[in-house]
Amino acid sequence: MSRFVAPGMLFLSCLLLSDAGNATTLNELKVGVRVFDFLKSAPHGPTPLAVIFDGRNGASVDDARAIVGWVNSGVSSIKATFVPSLFDVHQLDAAADYRIAIVADGTDASYELIRDYALRNLVLTVSSDLSCMRFGSCTVGIASTPRVEVVINREVATSCGIEFSEAFRMMVREY
């Protein structure tokens, strides 16, 4: 069995580490916002969306701006449209009322802040930076190439009181 498990773990490691340091793509954003449809209490209609970035990292700022631009131009889930707002990871108290957030790339120096914010305010955080999910700061990590992958950090989800439908849990990987 170990000869099957070892390549599998290698593949998962590659998956989890592969997108670290890359800007969020449009396809990844589309996957990320569609994940919201599978919450047990999914957002409907116009919904505030926090877009979190690290203001000390220019690439992270650019990524967050691109995300906001795409959302404003119509990237949405089936059930909800989103009203995005930018929040620097160092000033997350201003985002206390938000329930869902997209974490831009380049926030790896501030994962602790993101985790504290998510746990304190029970926020669902989604990111294409899979190491954010692996670190335990983001609830959901996403990838769109070579195929769509959605990975849920169960510990973070449980701590934040986030519940996905049972059907959705059966279609994704849980970490």
Binding site: M1, F4, V5, P7, G8, M9, F11, L12, L15, V31, R34, V35, D37, F38, L39, K40, S41, A42, I78, K79, P146, R147, V148, V150, R154, S165, E166, A167, F168, R169, M170, M171, R173, E174, Y175
Partner: protein, 657 residues
Amino acid sequence: MRRIVSLAALGLTVLVTRNVQAQEFDYRAAESLFGEPVTMSATGKPERVSDTAVLMKVITAEDIRRSGARNIPTLLQRLGGIDVVHESPDSVDVGFDGFNQVLNGRVMVLINGRQVYFDAYGAVFWSTLPVELEEIRQIEIIHGAQSALYGFNAVDGVINIVTFDPINDKINMVRARVGNHARRDIAATTTQPLGDQAGIRLTAADDHAQDYGIVWKTPADRAFFKNPNRRSISLDAAASASDDRQASLEASHTDVSERLIASGVLFNARIKSDVVKVAYAEETNIGRLSATASYSNIDMPWEQNQAAGVFHIGDTTAVAQISDLFKLGPADSFRVGLDGRHDQVSAPGTTGGFLTSDMAAPSLMWEHRFSPNLSAVNAVRYDYLKLGRSGDQLIQDIFSSADFDRSDQAISVNSSILQSLTEEDKLRLSFARGLALPSLAYLGKLERMAPVYGGYYSYGNPDLRASPVYSYRVGWDHQFRSLDATSRVVLFHDMTMNQVVAPFKVINSRLVQEFINSTGSVTNGLELGLEHKARQGWNWGGNYTYQRVHEHYNWGLRNAAPVNKLNGNIGYGWGEWEADLYASYISATKGLLAMPGNPPKTVVANIKGHTALSPRIAWQPTASLSVELTAENLWSYRDVLSQRMEPSYFLTLRVAY
């Protein structure tokens, strides 16, 4: 029937007013997220088709649109490992992996999970299915025994037809079709919202053509010409409010007249089918609970058989299913289910009263992910079947009603493994033990053949047992990223034990035919496939199937399945235009024909291999209008001895609104 529909409608209304939610599973949201079809047919749990451990094929709505096909069997015929034989122009039987006989009872067909199997004959009357192609989101095809999920008769495979959701998928269209053989089909579908989160879809269709193709045109044969007519009306409603509860209602009525073939003789029939189904699903603390109840009544008010004369047969079925889907930890998913089914067949003069079967079946499915690249699914189901007969005994009957007071029980299992070898390669291994239950006709009919066919009696046998079927499969999928194409190689080995056969024997100096469990059969085969799908530009694909059937009992058609089958398609889409060509080759086989005589003569003769070409060209000048010219079977061919399929041409106008 009317009372049941009213109760169901009332139930749905109550659910709607309680602000409850719709659709059993949100295919659209999941497909939109993952960018590929999702399914619940493979294991009973939702999963991406690329993630399922069983060997599955999916015909998508886009495939259907590009096919030019008029009906579902035409779509199935183009897949590897599927055999289709035509009993008449619009009446077909579908078999998997070599079992291509007419009135095939080895394939389980479902519409949104509801079995459409006709227990009395052990067959599916495809033309009675209350669904138009435009309503179909996808058709899911699973090869191999699946009894551990679907019960008796899912032994060669399962076909699940999934329709669009009436809340989220607005299907509004009118379609008219004219063609040779006096074909004139018309259909309309409208989807209406009921508030923000409920919807209803109504569909009506009326199809008509002229019968053609009886090969032996004796006066007796010609009497069985029957123009295929089909009328269908269906309703599909669903309600949705919160995200954790769903309810739906389906109801339909179809009325079909057509010519068929049984045991090599002609018959024609009028088949009326009424169905109602309600379903409810809710996310709870113990998982996703689903409950389904359905009632169907298939009535054949007249059935005229060359050998057995005219009779009436009715079959009512009530089904209740409850299941719980839940996940324990990150790697283990479970489905616990309980199915109940009551079936009653009445055929005055043929069954001597009412034949009944009552079935109860608990089941369990467990999926475990060892790693992101390795998962396994195991399922087990226990079926208990109680047979019964009530009413007056026919004087010629050799069985009393007490002989039918018996039960059968059996266990079926499915086990599959999926190993992702690389990002492009997936290996699937599966083993299954399925159960083929004899039809109620085989268990309890009593027919006296017409004098010209020897006047003998054909007896069902209440002591027949379910036939175990063992299925072994290995499949390898490879993705050619540079070609945007996927290939599949499958090896299969299926064994059927104690197959039901119907030999002649003499009882009390009288020639009789009696159904018995006999020896079995073995099928070995190979399937190869390669396909590339694109909306614009080139679209191509092909598959080849090699199969060898070894039947131990020689009933005339022994080892008759075609050995080689080849399908190919090529198409091109540019702007408003699309052109496609579908071709198939099926190697020689054998056919059986029962001829008048005392005893009746049985003719077994070769059927030549044949090639069929079906081109289409379509023009879509606007998003709502399409015009399509299609030809089917550019050369005549036969796949049974008594029916010749002739070229068909038709023009289809479709308006979506």
